[in-house]
Symmetry: C2
Subunit: 322 residues, 2 copies
């Protein structure tokens, strides 16, 4: 019986793959570093091998597979299933949908990882039955998945929801995208690391260094540790990042009038105790009364498996539509 | 035969009403100042009278009416058809859809004026057959209508596309909405008037005053006149407003990946010779390659009748769906 779903979350540094049941349980999963940055063919071989091993582990074969769901970093040409010039993967116009589908011999559903995460949140998270919400991942970068009228917003090619590239700080830091003052350049994990580095370069933040391994620079994680011990400098950096995130969230609430804003990603989840209250306070003070009504701002409960769960959702809903 | 459509664009200061044919021709239209600010019942009587007069003028009666389309300023509870606390109309939770429908005795389609304008642009403008575009009106205020996957984006209650309330200038001017640094506070007609006033209060901008009637302060219109005569101060103010608008447009392109950005509104259309090239230049330099593909940034060709045309579109499409 075809009752298993292959799911893979391809990231800039890691491949997270799993096999899920029809009811969204993760039967088995594996995480490996990406075997060869810049070589999509090698990564596809790696994924194929990971799936083979897991299928052996749980004793299923290709007859049991309903379909495959895949999340990849943007920019993705969703219409053609082609990863464009990806700064994280260092792939250039690679037709991953066709190539991986051919290799696996299953039907394959593909979307940008942040969109897939939003689908996971919609099917298995606290945003079940929610038709209007925005998933924002705060991690190395900042991205999103927008659910409007119950469906993922893709835009004409699939580039929609590049939420990290709203301007929040004119004249601020130059972003990896080339623009100056993007949300991602001021509120991502990368931005927090840079903030800490700049602080320490000015001879400050010495207490924060005590939370780091010798010779290591602080990341968002160590800033969180220091902040929870009351370190005022760490708290100030996190608060500032949260305030930039809050500007972006308020913009989005005014643009989308959603029911929920759902924060995910390592930094968004890891620092939610600091960030969420500040984001909520700013947003509820800075959007229209109509837009505050029935608005919740929360962190996702789904953790690291959110993209795998979204992969299952894509495959299951595709089945429903047939 | 039911082949005429009643259309009305209710603004903060004027009521524009018309009767259109099924093919979108405006058979007759009238514009009047709003008879009583803050009194919805009086305005509804005025609209009823305007329609009666126009029906007499072209010799039709209620048997000829297919339906009525209405555009109102936001915030609008689209689900219930209720104008919320509108700063322009000074109406408070007024159930306009039910009340006006009762009075006119026709089926009535209602939406926020900027959404209706986007529908007009989609059916009768250059954005025909376009499934992903954003209409931005730059006028007294700044608002928008977003077409995603061929449909107006409403959000959960109808508050979506408050595009004037994206933050573009942290620490900037306080907006009528209460937030500091909104697009509307820096790039609207109101903002340009304030910019001019502040310039003149500093003893500058004396040449701009020569374009104004005696004792009148410059508005966007006079700034445009002065700028077209080469006045450097007027050009600088318009350019600055355009640069703020460009920030907002680039954000929206990254968020929606649209095919078209369509600028409308008195200021947007009137100053397009200055504003459009600057907006285009910034946007094409500041969004992702994927997002630039097949992207056009234009002014609408539909002028002041855009909302009436959108009203016709609402009524006609409602008929199609029945």
């Amino acid at each position: 019986m075809r009752d298993c779903i292959l799911a893979v979350d391809i990231g800039g540094t890691k491949v997270l793959a799993g096999i899920l049941s029809r009811d969204g349980r993760i039967l088995v999963s594996r995480k490996e570093p990406v075997c060869a940055i810049g070589c999509p063919e090698e990564v596809l071989k790696q994924i194929f091998r990971m799936f083979q091993q897991m299928m052996n582990t749980i004793g299923i074969n290709s007859q049991n597979i309903l379909g495959t769901g895949v999340g990849v970093p943007g920019p993705l040409d969703y219409v053609r299933g082609v990863v464009e010039n990806s700064p994280n993967l260092r792939w250039l116009s690679y037709p991953i949908r066709d190539e991986l589908s051919k290799r696996l011999g299953t039907k394959l559903l593909l979307d940008k990882d942040t969109n897939v995460a939003a689908l996971g949140e919609k099917k298995y998270g606290m945003s079940r039955n929610c038709s209007h919400f925005i998933y924002i991942t705060i991690s190395t970068g900042i991205g999103g998945g927008i659910v409007a009228d119950g469906k993922i917003l893709h835009g004409q090619i699939g580039g929609a929801s590049e939420l990290g590239h709203m301007l929040v700080a004119p004249g601020g830091r130059r972003c990896a995208c080339g623009r100056v003052g993007c949300l991602e350049a001021h509120a991502s994990g990368t931005a927090l690391s840079l903030d800490a580095k700049e602080l320490i370069a000015r001879g400050k933040g010495q207490n924060i260094l005590t939370f780091c391994a010798r010779g290591q620079a602080p990341t968002a994680y160590e800033l969180g540790l220091a902040a929870r011990q009351g370190d005022a400098e760490a708290i100030a950096l996190i608060n500032r990042a949260a305030d930039y995130a809050a500007i972006g969230v308020a913009n989005l609430v005014n643009i989308f009038n959603p029911e929920r804003i759902v924060i995910g990603g390592g930094v968004g989840i890891g620092l939610q105790d600091f960030m969420l209250p500040r984001i909520r306070e700013y947003v509820f003070a800075n959007v229209f009364p109509l837009h505050k009504r029935n608005l919740a701002i929360e962190a996702t409960q789904l953790g690291e498996d959110i993209v795998l769960l979204g992969c299952a959702s894509m495959v299951l809903h595709d089945q429903l539509e047939e």
